[in-house]
Symmetry: C2
Subunit: 140 residues, 2 copies
DNA sequence: TAAACAGATGCAACTTTGTTGCAAAATAAT
DNA sequence: ATTATTTTGCAACAAAGTTGCATCTGTTTA
């Protein structure tokens, strides 16, 4: 774990600091997406709010994480797959929000379908967010 | 226009008040989606911020408008088609955000494709937001 | 390894966005 | 026209996000 974290930071030419390590660890040990508030809470408010914002911003810029638009318009972040480089992401997967347990996750195996746009429109990115009931919640 | 507005309000059993009429007019005379801030500005700050929030909330509940999640996580609203009733919407269309002019619009003719979810997952709603360059901006 | 540099952090102050309770005003019903 | 019901505006607040700056930490180089 420690190694993975340091690897990611080094690969992105980021200095290894307390907040970056801790926040990356959170993402690695968690399968779902995290909101800014989650991160503050789960770091035990050890870091300043501003630091968390800036750390997330850096991770976003580097393509380490990506943000997910949700229908209630809260901001969520999730780890990118390795093939996301600086500048542009290619998170070509569907996001799923469970209405029962509230978890938001990446469905890495579900690719975004092609969309036939009207004449004159050109797309650069397509976001698909599915709401429903996740695997775990459907077992009850 | 005036009639259309009053019609919509009556149909939804809402009293006809200044802010509701004005805000509905904004939506009707505009093809794109509106952010809360747009509405405040374009009503000339005639109405209290709180009133605008509450009016939008009422319109949402009644199914007169729907909200659109965007990748930059701002909240946008757009008029629903007539067949949206109170409680649940069926805005089965794709939303488009133009990266050039910033307009967000409903592509009413582009329906949301079926998504094949992994075993155990059940969907209730699917949101598709496409970023790119709109018709108007591609003519330049 | 220590000094020097660059970058990251924390703090304070502030802006923007959204919410709540309540009294006053506007709308609808009688 | 009067009453009852909604809606509105105000004030105060809470949450979310930003900026500038001094201080501290991590990295580099000698």
């Amino acid at each position: 774990m420690q190694e993975a974290v340091q690897d990611i930071l080094k690969k992105n030419q980021l200095s290894i600091t307390g907040s970056r390590v801790k926040i990356l660890e959170l993402f690695l040990e968690q399968q779902g997406a995290l909101a800014h508030g989650d991160i503050e809470r789960r770091t035990g408010e050890k870091f300043d709010r501003v630091t968390v914002y800036r750390t997330l911003q850096v991770f976003l810029n580097k393509g380490i994480i990506h943000s997910i638009p949700t229908s209630d318009n809260s901001v969520l972040y999730a780890l990118c797959k390795d093939d996301c480089g600086e500048g542009h992401h290619h998170d070509n997967h569907v996001h799923f929000v469970c209405d029962t347990c509230g978890t938001t996750m990446c469905l890495d195996d579900v690719t975004v379908p092609a969309i036939r746009l009207p004449k004159g429109f050109k797309f650069s990115e397509i976001q698909v967010v599915v709401n429903g009931r996740c695997k775990d919640c459907n077992q009850d």
